[in-house]
């Protein structure tokens, strides 16, 4: 009986193992590996878990509903980013920050920790590393530091970044209330905020630099983590990432006015002036529009209700596998066409485009370039997300995820919280995405917590925090960063650095989750 359980557990684990081996060992992208995982899950579910064609059909429909829910955000965030990027506003924001101080550690913190997190809040998908890497290199930091710093620095903001698409995926896949998950997720991510700041400074100048930058890390970290916490626990998690980044930029400006960090006036301020003739206020206007649109849409009930009148939803009947695993009847993921975060992003992108166009910031052919860039980034990401979500859904609906959770809870029981963040990190490492990590492991973590009698909110908080941290060591993101600073083909040293810091931060979060559980 026990041997049969182990064999079935290994079969249930095989789709995940296939994705891991293909992505890490064979350097496959998310789309290719996800498709291979899908085939493995399909075969295993039919042979060992008694899934039939009807179960597989419904699993695909549920999976694609979940995927569309996330992709709506992903595509509209890409459109908004490209609408803004095409005007040169991103360069203007980066250049403005560069002028603030001549303290090297603080420059590194502001660009690599704060600005990269702000970018994660509005774009994601490796954009923080791709944008900040060349900026740091232009300021004289080494190529390796220029990639490793934003990779580590922005990772705390991944869960709530990009309109909280990763957090939304966690809510969608586990079926839990966002407010129930927000507290512990934000506590762990808040702790990670400080750890990322400390790691960035330590990487640059060791203990001496930490001693010098500690007040800045505490002040800016508290502002960012606090803003993120307050917004997420009040239901505004879609804004938590980028508003925390914006608050961090404002806090950084104040910190540079402190005597210890004040500009001596010898900085190459002129170097920053070339980026654009645009003012900082104009450069940030799209993100101000986003706040103006999202806040009432989420908080003002009549408007929220009006926007959420039209929802795409499907009803699914109860299904039972040949081996008796029961999937309850119910509706799939509901998608609000006009009130979804993706819709709010699209309104912002439209208004921003009109605003910048009337001010004359677009050249001929800009619209075509915006769509080309959006399509280029979006198609591969979408294939990756759909294939991953569909294979995770086959695993969930055929009882494979439950069996995995049962095995892990039997083996580790009460000390499982120690591993919970590592599972999230592993998911992001293998798939290159916090969202995919939450999709693949969210249900597994929830069921493990329930079976072991642990707090689901703590375990899922550690899961998404691990997934967020894991993005700093995802090979896909490191590859993007290295390609922008001339390190293509020499990603190993950067990965070596980010893995070291990623493992340490993940272990600390796991330990804190265990302590929280024991208290």
């Amino acid at each position: 009986m026990e041997i049969m359980f182990i064999i079935k557990w290994l079969c249930a684990f095989s789709p995940i193992a296939v994705v891991l081996v293909l992505m890490i060992g064979f350097k496959w992208g998310g789309g290719r590996a996800g498709a291979a995982g899908w085939f493995t899950a399909l075969i295993v579910s039919v042979i060992f878990f008694g899934a039939d064609a009807t179960l597989l059909a419904y699993a695909q429909t549920k999976g694609v509903l979940l995927a569309i829910y996330v992709l709506y955000i992903v595509w509209m965030a890409l459109v908004l980013y490209n609408v803004v990027q095409e005007t040169g506003a991103i360069e203007t924001i980066g250049a403005g920050i560069k002028k603030l101080t001549d303290n090297r550690a603080l420059q590194l913190l502001i660009l690599g920790w704060v600005f990269s997190s702000f970018l994660q809040g509005v774009a994601g998908f490796g954009v923080p590393i791709a944008v900040v890497g060349p900026l740091l290199m232009g300021m004289g930091f080494s190529a390796i530091v220029s990639v490793a710093v934003p990779a580590i620095g922005h990772s705390w903001s991944v869960t709530y970044g990009d309109m909280a698409s990763s957090f939304q995926a966690l809510i969608a896949v586990t079926g839990m209330d966002g407010l129930f998950l927000a507290h512990w997720s934000s506590v762990f991510l808040g702790l990670t905020t400080y750890l990322c700041g400390l790691a960035v400074v330590y990487l640059f100048g060791g203990i001496g630099a930490i001693r010098q930058s500690l007040p800045a890390i505490i002040i800016i970290g508290t502002v960012m983590a606090g803003t993120q916490y307050l917004l997420s626990v009040t239901g505004l998690w879609t804004l938590a990432g980028f508003v925390a980044g914006m608050a961090g930029i404002l806090a950084s400006i104040l910190v540079t006015r402190m005597p210890a960090y004040r500009n001596s006036g010898t900085d190459d301020a002129g170097a920053a002036g070339h980026a654009s003739q645009m003012g900082l206020g104009t450069a940030l206007s799209s993100y101000i529009f986003l706040i103006i649109i999202v806040t009432p849409s989420e908080l003002y009930s009549p408007l929220h209700g009006w926007l959420n009148q039209v929802k795409l939803s499907l009803q699914f009947p109860e299904i039972i596998t040949a081996y008796g695993w029961k999937v309850a009847a119910g509706s799939g993921k509901k998608i609000s066409i006009f009130g979804h975060p993706g819709a709010l992003l699209s309104y912002t992108a439209f208004i921003s485009y009109i605003f910048y166009a009337t001010k004359g910031y677009y050249n001929a052919g800009s619209m075509k370039r915006i769509w080309t860039k959006t399509l280029k980034s979006g198609v591969s990401t979408s294939i990756g997300i759909i294939s991953m979500v569909c294979f995770a859904m086959i695993m969930d609906q055929s009882g494979m995820t439950f069996l995995l959770a049962e095995g892990v809870s039997r083996l580790f029981g009460p000390v499982y919280p120690l591993l919970s963040s590592a599972v999230g990190t592993l998911g992001a490492f293998m798939t290159g995405s916090n969202t995919n990590s939450n999709v693949i492991f969210g249900m597994f973590q929830k069921q493990t917590a329930e079976l072991a009698g642990l707090s689901v909110a703590v375990i899922l908080g550690a899961q998404t925090t691990g997934g967020s941290i894991g993005s700093m060591l995802a090979p896909a993101k490191i590859l993007v960063g290295c390609s922008t600073v001339g390190l293509a083909g020499r990603e190993g040293p950067v990965l070596g650095i980010t893995i070291k810091y990623g493992v340490i931060i993940t272990a600390i979060i796991g330990l804190v989750a265990l302590i929280v559980h024991l208290l």
């Binding site: 085939f39 399909l42 059909a57 695909q60 294939i383």
Partner: protein
Amino acid sequence: MKQFLQKHSKGLKYASLIAMLIVPFLLYSAARSDISWAVNLLLGLMGASMLVAMKIG
């Protein structure tokens, strides 16, 4: 075959993405109507889209 995939990789990628987004809804409709041959056929089509994704990423 390899040459064909390389030549049409962009178009195939778009086609595979569109199929991945549409086929599940057809599957739902076929499963709700208990048309088992259509469910099997559409699952095959979904598999073909995944195969294309696996080949060209």
